[in-house]
């Protein structure tokens, strides 16, 4: 049709009705991170929960310290500590039901342990005897994920599959501030929102991606503000306030379970230690900044609240510490044993059935090992 014809036929009309697909207002995070401890909201918090959180934080801190010590003794290849981030780690684990799934990043060993994983099995990846030390299906904990943000679409797919099957399962996926820059973050959040999948995304904004501070990572008002661009609610929480993180995540899990779709939670926290034992944090930040955060320590915050309100006494605190020490002693002892290693395993799990090629290679290695046993280096 030529323009001439069109002109005769058409009248300019207003644009076909266009509506924002959802109301953006409720999706936007509050201007300040949500807090419970030290605020009026604390009065509403369940004392039993607070005590449970406290015990787990204390255990978590000790776990981090012990694992870091194990790197120095050569018992771990590397350990990315979550010291200072224990509130996020613990709350993420505690808000989930048994049937739910946790998708941890490589820094979230502690969350897996708080969910009930054997502390030694959780360290397999970092000890280096295998890539994953536990059966993810048994524990509903996905393998600790190293390629940043790549676990997020897995969480979405799993949650979606569960919903399709009619199972009442929520997936909680953890990622760092740095990881939020990856394309997989974007794609996962978008799929989750379009599918209304029961997923909760927890961004631990600990201020750094190795040496790179948040200001070089994003110019957004907050990472939680990204949520509106996917059509899901964004929530901002004080990541060192275990009660607040627990509450915000619980709400998000409940919302997801009820069919309300995904939520993006940004927890403002801080990586108090270096990126890993191999990192030298003095190259990119000063002590003063670290100290302000040490003062806002998740354990101290919670212990203070509990003490002030008479919900815990010294013996209660001591009991938590004793339990933590017992866990650490057990961990130390078991990690000091060499793990069993079988080189033949290299070929066992590449495919359901080894290919003819892998069988040949396995035979070759077996022969080599036998020769090694027999005689010295040629």
């Amino acid at each position: 049709m030529t323009v001439m014809e069109q002109r005769g036929a058409y009248k300019p009309t207003p644009p076909p009705a266009w509506q924002p697909r959802t109301d953006p207002a409720p999706l936007l995070p509050d201007a300040r991170p949500y807090r419970v401890l030290g605020t009026e909201a604390a009065a509403q918090a369940d004392p039993g929960l607070l005590r449970r959180l406290h015990a787990e934080l204390v255990r978590g801190r000790r776990y981090n310290a012990q694992a870091t010590a194990l790197t120095k003794q050569g018992r771990l290849a590397v350990y990315p500590s979550s010291t200072g981030q224990e509130a996020c780690q613990v709350a993420a684990a505690l808000v989930l039901e048994d049937r739910d799934w946790l998708f941890p990043s490589y820094r979230d060993t502690l969350a897996a342990v708080a969910r009930g994983l054997d502390p030694v099995q959780a360290l397999t990846l970092l000890r280096g005897d295998w890539h994953t030390g536990y059966d993810p299906r048994e524990h509903r904990v996905a393998p600790l994920c190293t390629p940043l943000a790549t676990q997020l679409p897995h969480a979405v797919g799993l949650a979606h599959a569960a919903r399709l099957k009619g199972d009442d399962v929520v997936a909680l996926a953890m990622v760092g501030d740095g990881g939020s820059s990856e394309g997989d973050f974007h794609e996962a959040l978008n799929f989750a929102a379009v599918w209304q999948a029961p997923v909760v995304f927890l961004v631990q904004n600990n201020g750094f991606a190795i040496s790179v501070p948040l200001a070089k990572q994003t110019a957004a008002p907050s990472l939680a503000h990204k949520a509106v661009g996917y059509g899901m609610p964004g929530r901002l929480v004080d990541g060192n306030d275990a009660a607040a993180v627990h509450e915000v995540l619980s709400d998000a899990v409940r919302h997801a379970r009820a069919g309300g779709g995904p939520t993006l939670v940004e927890a403002i926290t801080y990586r108090v230690e270096a990126h890993t034992n191999a990192d030298d944090a003095t190259r990119y930040r000063g002590d003063a900044e670290v100290d302000t955060w040490r003062d806002h320590d998740p354990i101290v915050l919670l212990e203070h609240e509990l003490t002030e309100r008479g919900l815990i006494d010294d013996s209660g605190i001591q009991a938590a510490r004793d339990a933590a020490e017992a866990m650490a002693a057990d961990l130390r002892e078991r990690m000091n044993q060499d793990p069993p290693l079988d080189p033949m395993d290299l070929f066992a799990h590449v495919y359901a059935e080894p290919t003819p090629q892998l069988r040949e290679q396995q035979a070759q290695l077996r022969a080599e090992l036998a020769a090694e046993q027999e005689g010295p280096h040629r």
Binding site: W130, T132, P136, A161, D184, E187, A348, H349
Partner: protein
Amino acid sequence: MTTVALKPATMAQALTRAMRDAMAADPTVHVMGEDVGTLGGVFRVTDGLAKEFGEDRCTDTPLAEAGILGTAVGMAMYGLRPVVEMQFDAFAYPAFEQLISHVSRMRNRTRGALPLPLTIRVPYGGGIGGVEHHSDSSEAYYIATPGLHVVTPATVADAYGLLRAAIASDDPVVFLEPKRLYWSKASWNPDDPQTVEPIGRAVVRRSGRSATLITYGPSVPVCLEAAEAARDEGWDLEVVDLRSLVPFDDETVCASVRRTGRAVVVHESGGFGGPGGEIAARVTERCFHHLEAPVLRVAGFDIPYPPPMLERHHLPGVDRILDAVGRLQWEAEG
């Protein structure tokens, strides 16, 4: 289940039928990708599946390949059998991190606890007059990634049989569909109980005594044509269709080459670093004393896939294959 008379059927129809039968037989099979639902895929290979099984079983995803494959991984972790369509070969590249770092490794990572029964369908190769990024042969990337099976049919029957096997496999399978064979036809009766073709077995498509053409996918018909033409030159060529690049059927291939003493590997994918090097090397390792000549390769040039008007110069054709056969040092024999 309604049955449609499809004889003769196209490869595209056989593929559709394979998915349909798999979906009917197993409720955990889910098809997903860009435009696979309402439209039935840009090649119509998923035509009718959304209608028959609903949009939850055959899903139009958002437009993001890493997201498609990544969510499929999660679905497989929960016990589904996703069948993912990548719209074109080059549009699978955004999903490579998910493919290499997760799809291929999840079983290994978890000592077998988390197998990923995932099929990734990739329409591949040229010869259809597509503009850039629509004609890549990307199999070199897949075969260099341990943990993946890499399969490609060349016939209508294999399209059905191998895709059924891929979907049934407890391992991830990259299923490479030769685009230009989508419309190839064969008399094939889908209502006969179809044999699922086990993955990992090559087949001799044409017997011959002078030399072996080792090939797969879109180059199989070209090699068969070349073998016919070669009769004029007095050569009786055997044609082996690999069907599966991983696992590789050394037995069938080497048996042929030991018989003929000469071989040419033919594929469309670029020569340098392409599958032909692997194939030639492993055949040579295993059949050295049977070889009258080095194993030669006929492949695409080592260039980005050319624009449609020039693609015929790039694609291995009958003449180029026969030229290579001619270089197999025949004088040495006689």
